[in-house]
């Protein structure tokens, strides 16, 4: 049916909390905070007055008092003696070392401003990128005049957060062969979700997977900020792998800053579209997005695809729910 018109669903009722909330308790049951599990704290709820707890993100202490109060709407997390409140929905906050995918929104005199779905635009200095020609290449004025030949407005880059400024803005760098301009693929954005779903920080944010139906290899890049890039895997020159670290930047070729796609096969494009649908289905059904879930979800999706005669790729709505059920059942 080309068009499905649905009735609006009533808001799902949250399961009543199994335990009652004792928000302020001085009982000595181990000195622990009495708020449990799935209960949501709201701004202003006192968590505990016990002074052995330290306060973390999402809490504050009124001056002149010792009680730790929540300042966000979210769930409580305890790490050793640290109490913090994890919000239900939050913007990404950059941390040093994060691998992020960003989109250039502004080109300024010697730097670019990059949208990384954080509260502020991140900065990418021209001194923080690899200029083709090698490490000994001097940055000249001509480079600044032709700044758009490296990155222009709208380009997608994968970079690492190098440092954080006082106001929370991040500074990025692409000083490695695995960072740089992105091409040969599609972009998906799953930002704005907190509390356990969406992209989680994991050991491996980038991996290559083998796809079904003779699609070859596909790279999946999960940016910690919720921006994801799925592309065809291009074999890099073996020479580049072989050189030592001193000569790495000399092998940065002129291809790095081009936006020309390599030829792509139909089967690869289909599988890329399938992975994209899998990720969106995971997000829609509130599951976390990491390498494990995506790989499992993908193999489920290939199975689901076999059910229809022409290998239907669409995973919205009902099919997505079946996929999620199959994954959580595992």
């Amino acid at each position: 049916m080309p068009i499905t018109v649905l009735q609006p669903q009533p808001a799902a009722k949250r399961q009543a909390a199994a335990m009652s909330v004792d928000s302020d308790s001085d009982s000595d049951s181990g000195g622990g905070a009495e708020v449990h599990g799935e209960d949501i704290l709201t701004p202003g709820t006192v968590i505990t007055s016990n002074s052995q707890w330290m306060r973390g993100h999402g809490t504050y202490v009124q001056p002149g008092e010792t009680a730790i109060t929540s300042s966000l709407a979210g769930t409580l997390t305890k790490t050793n003696k640290l109490l913090s409140v994890r919000p239900l929905r939050a913007r990404y906050t950059p941390e040093i070392g994060d691998l992020v995918v960003g989109r250039i929104v502004e080109v300024q005199a010697k730097r670019w401003r990059v949208d990384v779905a954080a509260s502020q635009l991140a900065i990418l200095q021209i001194s923080a990128i690899n200029l083709p020609g090698g490490i000994l290449r001097k940055r000249t004025e001509t480079d600044e005049l032709q700044i758009r030949s490296f990155f222009a407005e709208g380009d997608l880059v994968v970079a690492e957060v190098q440092q954080l400024h006082q106001d929370g803005a991040a500074s990025l760098h692409t000083r490695s062969l695995k960072y740089g301009k992105l091409r040969n693929g599609v972009f998906v954005s799953v930002s704005g979700i907190g509390g356990g779903s969406g992209v989680v920080r994991a050991k491996r944010q980038v991996w290559t997977m083998d796809v079904a139906n003779a699609g070859g290899k596909v790279d999946v890049l999960l940016g910690v900020n919720g921006y994801i890039w799925i592309s065809k895997h291009i074999e890099s020159d073996t020479n580049a792998e072989a050189v030592g670290i001193n000569r790495m930047e000399e092998s940065v070729s002129s291809k790095v800053y081009s936006s020309q796609n390599d030829p792509l096969e139909l089967s690869t494009m289909r599988e890329i579209a399938r992975i994209r649908s899998v990720i969106l289905a995971l997000v829609e059904n509130r599951l976390k997005v990491d390498e494990d879930m995506v790989t499992k979800g993908y193999s489920e999706a290939v199975e689901l695809g076999r059910e229809s005669p022409d290998d239907d790729l669409y995973l919205g709505g009902e099919k997505g729910q079946r996929l999620a059920a199959a994954l959580t059942g595992h």
């Binding site: 080109v107 222009a152 407005e153």
Partner: protein
């Protein structure tokens, strides 16, 4: 909206004086269904602008319409203001305005919704012809003023034919703007020209007839009309505006669009002739 920058005429609607009923001629079209009215086009009429053009469409003798006069000025390419974001293409902005005395009912100085609608159509029509990526970080302004609209003494609104008038006006705007762009020396892939065709009821209950370059007051009723912006050398259409009630019979729309293309071929010849003349003279 109160306009405090100018000394305005009386607020509210000015009702046109009511004359004694005269014998209004019956709607009658003296041209062939395939005939378009003669056009006079001259470029370079406004020396201070980068490019300009003037188009006059003659009235038919004995018909109630009074012809149409349009002028267009093009300013640019000129650099965008510093505050504007970087644009890899030329930024086109179009403005279409009726002069207050152009139509039977006086229009104010502020643009109303039909003029903004025409501006959007014109922008779509011209954008297809421009080679915009030759001029990054610059903008071009196209301003079309309609000095005399096509309206007859009858209050056109009452007849409900004012909306069909807009199609004719759009056709003229497209032609004159394309000529002005060429006069300004802005790279285009082709000269756009506008043409209008309409479906009117046949005489004495016969099959509906397709006519080119319709003047609404010459017909009792217009069933459907189509205005097309056409690129003659590339055989492509940059803007299509079709309105009316057509059955889903495939041939009817095809015919209507094809006739409108035919009408615009006629206007494009007028544009080409006048541009060559200007080149030879100047």
């Amino acid at each position: 909206m109160a306009d405090r920058r100018r000394v305005n005429g009386p607020g509210g609607i000015t009702v046109p004086p009511i004359y004694e009923a005269e014998d209004l001629p019956l709607p009658d079209r003296s041209r062939q269904p395939n005939g378009i009215r003669a056009q006079y086009l001259k470029t370079g009429v406004t020396p201070s602008a980068s490019g300009s053009a003037y188009l006059e469409i003659e009235p038919q003798n004995g018909s109630v319409s009074k012809g149409m006069k349009l002028t267009c000025t093009v300013h640019g390419p000129r650099s965008l203001p510093r505050s504007a974001p970087f644009s890899p293409h030329m930024v086109l902005s179009t403005h279409v305005k009726f002069a207050p005395f152009a139509t039977r009912q006086r229009r104010g100085y502020l643009r109303d919704s039909s003029e903004r609608d025409l501006s959007t159509h014109l922008e779509t029509a011209l954008r297809g012809a421009l080679i915009a990526d030759r001029w990054p970080k610059s903008g071009v302004d196209v301003i079309v003023t309609i000095i005399e609209g096509d309206q007859a003494r009858q209050v056109a609104v009452e007849q409900g034919i004012e909306e069909w008038d807009m199609m004719n006006v759009l056709g003229g705007c497209i032609t004159v703007a394309a000529a002005a762009l060429a006069d300004a020396g802005i790279d285009c892939v082709d000269t756009v020209s506008g043409g209008v065709a309409a479906l009117v009821p046949g005489k004495d209950g016969e099959e509906p007839v397709m006519v080119l370059d319709p003047v609404p007051s010459e017909h009792e009723e217009i069933l459907a009309a189509c205005c097309v912006a056409y690129l003659p050398s590339r055989d492509e259409i940059t803007n299509l505006w079709l309105k009316g009630s057509l059955s889903s019979d495939a041939n009817l729309q095809r015919m209507l669009i094809a006739r409108a293309v035919h009408a615009s071929k006629g206007s494009s010849q007028a544009v080409a002739a006048s541009l060559t003349e200007a080149a030879l003279a100047g």
